[in-house]
């Protein structure tokens, strides 16, 4: 046997053996028995969880990893040497919630993040459809968070109507709120988010959002999205929630929203 025939044989045999071994050993596949039974989650159909798992393994796994720790193969380059990184679901810290700071998100919060994506870092999965978004959210909750998600929030979300609508007076009041709450300490007096070095919970450098550029808003850009972000904060980052400061004074929160919108010319 000449050396080329030997080398060729080696390549074929090695590739075949490794493929078979890998498939038989089940590497790269999580154990379906791993999921814990948890109250309401038990009531969800196994088919929903299974479909959610499939979606996760085809799409989410590359960034969030097979164990939901945010350490997938593509994770580190999302923010090389800086914030953000894909979320570690097992740590129980979630930026995007409608619940109080420190609490877990509601299922709808997970669904909203999947549906809308995070500009610059996570694509929108809107075209997946609501049912499949719900299924993958259920899978994440059951497999990685492993705790029952809250079904309601104590934060008061008043509708953007009546006294809470946009007005010049509201913007002026919002500017005062911006100063009173010390938002300028991170976002700057002009709202451009310059001049301060911050770190997130992982110790990665993070820049305060430039309030004049809506495309930098990870948690959504609608009036309601900004209201929610102010109230809940962004856990895992230096951005605190201000729900306690606005308790019973929700119109002031809307004033702040209007001031931020005015910085964007909206």
């Amino acid at each position: 046997m000449n050396r080329h025939a030997f080398s060729f044989g080696l390549v074929v045999v090695a590739t075949t053996c490794l493929s078979l071994f890998y498939t038989e050993a089940g590497f790269g596949q999580t154990n379906p028995e791993q999921g814990h039974d948890m109250g309401r989650m038990e009531e969800t159909g196994a088919a929903d969880i299974a479909t959610g798992k499939m979606i996760y393994r085809m799409t989410c796994i590359h960034c969030h990893g097979s164990k939901g720790r945010g350490d997938g193969a593509a994770a580190i380059f999302i923010g090389p040497y800086s914030h953000p990184r894909p979320n570690d679901f097992t740590a129980g810290i979630f930026k995007f919630r409608s619940t109080e700071s420190g609490q877990l998100p509601m299922l709808e919060d997970l669904m909203r993040t999947i549906r809308e994506g995070i500009p610059g870092f996570m694509p929108s999965f809107r075209n997946l459809g609501e049912e499949r978004i719900r299924q993958v959210s259920l899978y994440i909750a059951r497999e990685f968070i492993q705790k029952e998600l809250p079904t309601q929030t104590t934060i008061k979300y008043v509708e953007h109507v009546g006294p809470y609508t946009y007005s010049v007076e509201s913007v002026v009041r919002g500017k005062e709120v911006y100063k009173r709450l010390g938002c300028f300490a991170c976002h700057g007096l002009d709202g451009r988010g310059t001049g301060i070095s911050l770190k997130d919970k992982r110790g990665l450098p993070i820049k305060p959002v430039d309030l004049t550029r809506q495309e930098t808003f990870g948690n959504g850009t609608s009036h309601e999205d900004i209201y929610r972000t102010i109230m809940t904060g962004l856990d895992g980052t230096p951005m605190p929630g201000f729900s306690s400061q606005f308790k019973g004074k929700e119109e002031s929160a809307w004033d702040l929203v209007h001031y931020i919108l005015s910085r964007q010319g909206r």
């Binding site: 060729f8 990893g65 040497y81």
Partner: protein, 477 residues
């Protein structure tokens, strides 16, 4: 030392500089590789790439799904906030990209003669890429390459500057809708997924996808030909004689001295060919099942272009196994076999060409390691050829890239060629290259590189420089 020369005319340089300044100024959010996709999905480049044009696991899945987010087949129905809508239905900037890359200053030392060139980036590429329907995607590349070495009849070569169809120009069709029924053992719920019995433990399918046109079949190999962080060094021709071979990843090179295409054109020894061509006409079928990717196809022939000079075609098979999806780790190994069917010519006889080999890739945090070992054998060599001929050859290439800071990418590559062909002409080669690439902006970087010929200067064109230094630029929109 040869006087400083310039391979582009003044108007071309001024036009290019003008466009470059405009695009850098107006579109700072674009990025390397295919920024149209980044614009379309409102993502950063590093969502799909480690160090562009290298793909990360998500980028590979995106490519595998036909330039779409896996599981979200959306065709052109997805509309996002963007730089500005040009067409009413399709945002043109979501499918259009432009890239210019190449050396600005290049210097060969120890060559005969030494030369230093001021030059403008040799490669200008325009892309139109996207999805036409949920199942059909397209990739259209127009390319302007200056001073490309081309073989011509009679054992000669020439340098050409051409504008036309680029390295790739193809349609990709997802055949899964046609094959949906066989997968649905226990109630398939969506494309790309097949549930096993009991649900939740099934195997994931992607594809099969067909690529037709001018393709780079190695796009799914663990070491794809077209994803080079350290760019190729072009060869040099003087009066039809090759004075200096180009420097490419030797694993992918043709490796044989004195071999010609089926229609008699000379083939540069370091030209990437067959399965590892940067692009040629053919048809490709690939599918992913779990972590195993299988690929098969056929190419028109060795550097055949669209000329039907090889009626038998060159089939290939490739298998790739992926591993790692956590702890910032991923990788793959690939095995390849490629049969060149009367694809080349030695003297005046058509010969078969067997190519096989493997490649591997390991990514861990900011480190990206990849390499390939390819063997080549010329079969059915005719008796009585003009001089002794070594019908075997192999090449080995390994590269490591490390993102040292968020702006600085360090790379090192080693190439080794054990050449075949006419013994009177052939020479082996070893070269090592190091490069530092600094990203001024997301879509604009400078690089400084050095390639050192470990075999030393010799009379053969493969060895006619000792050291090569270049300062270059990579820009795209």
């Amino acid at each position: 030392m040869r006087p400083v020369s310039c391979r582009w005319n003044r108007n071309e340089i001024l036009c290019g500089l003008f466009l470059g300044v405009i695009m850098i100024t107006l579109f700072p959010s674009s990025c390397f590789a295919i920024p149209a996709f980044a614009r379309k999905y409102d993502l950063s480049c590093t969502s799909c790439h480690t160090n562009p044009p290298r793909l990360n696991a998500f980028g590979e899945a995106f490519h595998m799904a036909g330039f779409q987010i896996p599981t979200v087949q959306e065709g052109e129905t997805k509309k996002k906030r963007n730089i500005g809508r040009v067409w009413s239905e399709t945002d043109f900037l979501n499918i259009f990209s432009f890239r210019a890359n190449g050396n600005l200053v290049e210097s060969f030392q120890g060559s005969n003669p030494d030369e230093t060139n001021l030059t403008f980036p040799r490669d200008l590429e325009i892309y139109l890429a996207g999805t036409y329907t949920d199942e059909i995607s397209y990739f259209i590349e127009l390319d302007r390459e200056a001073g490309a070495v081309q073989g011509i009849p009679g054992g000669f070569f020439e340098e050409r500057s051409e504008f036309g169809i680029g390295k790739e120009f193809f349609l990709m069709v997802d055949l899964q809708p046609l094959l949906k029924a066989p997968y649905a053992k226990s109630g398939e719920t969506m494309p790309g997924m097949a549930h096993g019995e009991g649900g939740g433990g099934g195997i994931m399918f992607m594809g099969p996808m067909v690529m037709i046109g001018k393709i780079d079949p190695s796009t799914n190999f663990s070491y794809p030909t077209n994803r080079q962080v350290i760019l190729n060094i072009p060869g040099r021709v003087d009066s039809g004689i090759l004075q200096r071979f180009g420097l490419t990843p030797y694993a992918f090179a043709s490796k044989f001295f004195g071999v010609k295409t089926a229609d008699g054109n000379s083939v540069e020894v370091t030209k990437e060919v067959l399965y590892n061509t940067p692009g040629d006409f053919g048809i490709d079928l690939h599918a992913m099942m779990g972590n195993l990717l299988l690929q098969g196809g056929a190419m028109q022939g060795l550097q055949a272009g669209n000329r039907d000079v090889n009626s038998k075609k060159d089939p290939y098979l490739m298998a790739r196994l992926n591993f790692g999806q956590e702890a910032y780790t991923s990788g793959s190994i690939s095995g390849l076999i490629n049969w060149g069917n009367d694809t080349a010519m030695v003297d005046t006889s058509l010969v078969n060409w067997l190519r096989y080999g493997f490649s591997g890739n390991l990514k861990y945090k900011y480190l990206d390691l990849y390499g390939a070992f390819i063997w080549d054998t010329i079969r059915n060599l005719p008796v009585g050829i003009s001089s002794p001929f070594d019908r075997t050859a192999n090449g080995f290439t390994i590269e490591g890239d490390y993102l040292a800071t968020d702006r600085l990418l360090l790379s090192i590559r080693y190439d080794q060629l054990s050449a075949g062909g006419f013994i009177s002409q052939k020479a082996d080669g070893k070269a090592i290259a190091a490069q530092a690439r600094f990203y001024m902006r997301d879509n604009f970087s400078f690089y400084l590189r050095d390639s050192y010929n470990l075999e030393g200067v010799g009379t053969n064109a493969l060895r006619n420089f000792r050291n090569f230094v270049a300062l270059g630029v990579d820009f795209d929109f």
